[in-house]
Amino acid sequence: MDTSPSPLNGNDAGHLSGPHAEPLTAEQLRELYSLMVAVRHLDTSAIAWQRQGLIPGYAPELGQEAAQVGSGYAVDTTRDFVFPTYREMGVARAMGVDMVAYMSTHKATWHGGLYNPIESRLAPIQAVVGGSVLHAVGWAHGQTLDQADGVAMTYFGDGASSQGDIHEAMNFAAVMKAPVVFFVQNNGWAISVPTERQVAGGSVAARAAGYGMPALRIDGNDVVAVAEATRRAFAHARAGNGPVLIEAMTYRRGPHSTSDDPGRYRSLNEERDDAGEDPLERFRKQLLADGIADDAFFAEALAAAKAEEDDIRAGIQALGSRPGTEMFDLVFQETTPALQAQAASWREESEHV
């Protein structure tokens, strides 16, 4: 796989414009590595938490750390806004979202997560496949109307690409020239269905040309390539050139979720052959080879990741259930008499008062 981001379209639109960003500094590369280690460690820990009964379920992102950290790192949280699926823990972490609040969704504390999406610049966790992609288009069009310079980035998978909403979103964005980055993580699978029986033509990026939209199909396991492609896409959209699609080719190395059993649809041999090199290990080797980081740095990063995980686990353990009144109080901005009556009878009957 070619590691440099390459425009897929032969047409004019295929060339991204907008100011070119400086290459990543050594400091930034190390930061990317630290983020990836933190994410990897939290991700594998979360599976252990689930086995230990601390959380009821989890959707691992093992193997997608480069795609998630690299793209999340490119977000300018002072003006951009991100729309995740249910699997973007690495994006949230790279954006600096409170991770106890984020992981609370996996403790089944609150569906959308407990973080404040407005302050975090990260929309609530979204369980409908493809559900939020149109939201990004609306938010981005709002930037145009407000003459502001924020860009919306929306994540979706190879499976989600089959949903009608994805098409409507791309068409709306391209018609309105909305500043949107469509970030596709093509991780090879939608639960048990491989990309080749999901994505006709084989590439989500190839769809972009049909909307006159530029697309980049990149090596999603190369964190630097991902970060740079995402920055280019942001610059292009921010400069008023309309939407861009990035298809990051990666691999879901783990199960779909902690209740999935991948052995039913793929063999360990297939996993090994298709997954390619581990993005974290690969980045480590590259940093070493380039003399940007050494074993001491890697050890330190891992230690920091472990300490971070300890804190997050403690935070998750400390999370109690949400009070039942929230069920009623958070439905509307202006509540209704019927809802108040239901809340009252619930209180009476549940609390036996």
Binding site: G112, S132, V137, F172, F332
Partner: protein, 354 residues
């Protein structure tokens, strides 16, 4: 919503200057309300299929693009899920979207965005991302239109937690309810009775409560449109006018019918409903939607719960049948007509415990 009677809609928004009364069609009244909402709130946006240049297939948005600009009033591509999904994002960005779906039946492709996103985003985001979206849906039948152009989706919408649903019955209600709905911080489905678009009526701009209304009206809750002693007819949208006609006819036979315009289909104004039926002791609910699992069941059950002791007969439902909305002349057979409503009234009045 509960305290909202305090702010009496238009009159407050426009200050205290009296603006008087005009004869308008419902189409004009809705157009006026949108115009004023756009003028008052720079974050309000009006959009949908053919809403811009054409002014909508029913001309509800006529002239608004010319007046407020193509940024505020615009055409979208032909995709209802796209229109509603985009509305979510615009609401997140601080706008007040007032999208239109061109006809009731074309709300179905947007049900996923309406139910799973618009209705739940305030909840999911713990109140940090309100969804002040006013979805206009030209609704109900009566215009001999093609398939899917005469649907009544109120039962579907009313069942969805997080939505509010309202339907005006005349130009005055249309003006005030739309102005009210389009300034709320919660999503409201605004169901316009398309068969009434061209009917003229008096709009009192100064107060949601028309001069001479038997009850103190407000843009929230139900409204008694005609006081009566023998039976309560409950209806909404285009059926209110028909029920008023029925009441006139019944009056000739000495039957004194109270007509209640439910207006808000969610939340339902249980108090006004109960007060009316406690007085009349008999009720008939009328709607165009199919019978089974229609909103009439909810209304009937609310009445029965509240008035079980005083009810002289089970609440009767006169509704559309459990059949797809039919074509042409069959429309007159499907939509509750005067005869069928009168038969229902008769059954209730003649009911004997047995």
């Amino acid at each position: 919503m509960s305290n909202a009677t305090l702010e009496s809609g238009a009159a407050m928004a426009e200050g205290t200057a009296r603006r008087g009364v005009e004869q308008l069609s419902m189409q004009q009244a809705l157009n006026r309300a949108l115009d004023e909402v756009l003028a008052a709130n720079p974050k309000a946006l009006v959009f949908g299929e053919d809403c811009g240049r054409l002014g909508g297939v029913f001309r509800i948005t006529d002239g608004l693009q010319a007046k407020h600009g193509t940024g505020r009033v615009f055409d979208t591509p032909l995709a209802e899920s796209g229109i509603l999904g985009m509305s979510v994002g615009l609401a997140m960005a601080g706008f007040h979207p007032i999208p239109e779906v061109q006809f009731d039946g074309f709300a179905y492709p947007a049900v996923n965005q309406i139910v799973c996103q618009i209705a739940r985003m305030n909840y999911r985001s713990r109140g940090t991302m309100p969804m002040p979206i006013t979805l206009r849906v030209p609704s109900f039948g009566g215009i001999r239109a093609p398939e899917h152009h005469g649907e009544s989706l109120e039962a579907l919408f009313a069942h969805v937690p997080g939505l509010k649903v309202v339907s005006p019955s005349n130009p005055h209600e249309a003006y005030h309810l739309l102005k009210y709905a389009a300034t709320r911080p919660d999503p409201v489905i605004f169901m316009e009775p398309k068969s009434r678009y061209w009917q003229k009526g008096e709009v009192d701009f100064d107060s949601p409560d028309p001069a001479g209304s038997p009850t103190g009206g407000s843009p929230t809750g139900a409204k008694v449109m005609r006081a009566g002693r023998h039976l309560t007819l409950v209806a909404w949208g285009a059926m209110v006018a028909r029920c008023l006609q029925v009441a006139e006819l019944a009056a000739e036979d000495g039957i004194d019918i109270e007509v209640l315009d439910l207006r808000w289909l969610k939340p339902i104004d249980e108090a006004t409903l109960a007060a009316s039926v406690r007085k009349t002791r008999r009720a008939v609910v009328v709607h165009e939607a199919p019978l089974t699992s229609g909103l009439g069941a909810e209304v009937a059950q609310l009445i029965t719960q509240a008035c079980f002791d005083t009810l002289k007969a089970p609440v009767e439902r006169i509704t559309g049948f459990d059949v797809p909305y039919p074509s042409g002349d069959l429309e007159d057979e499907y939509i509750p007509n005067i005869d069928r409503i009168l038969f229902g009234i008769q059954r209730v009045l003649e009911y004997k415990r047995g």
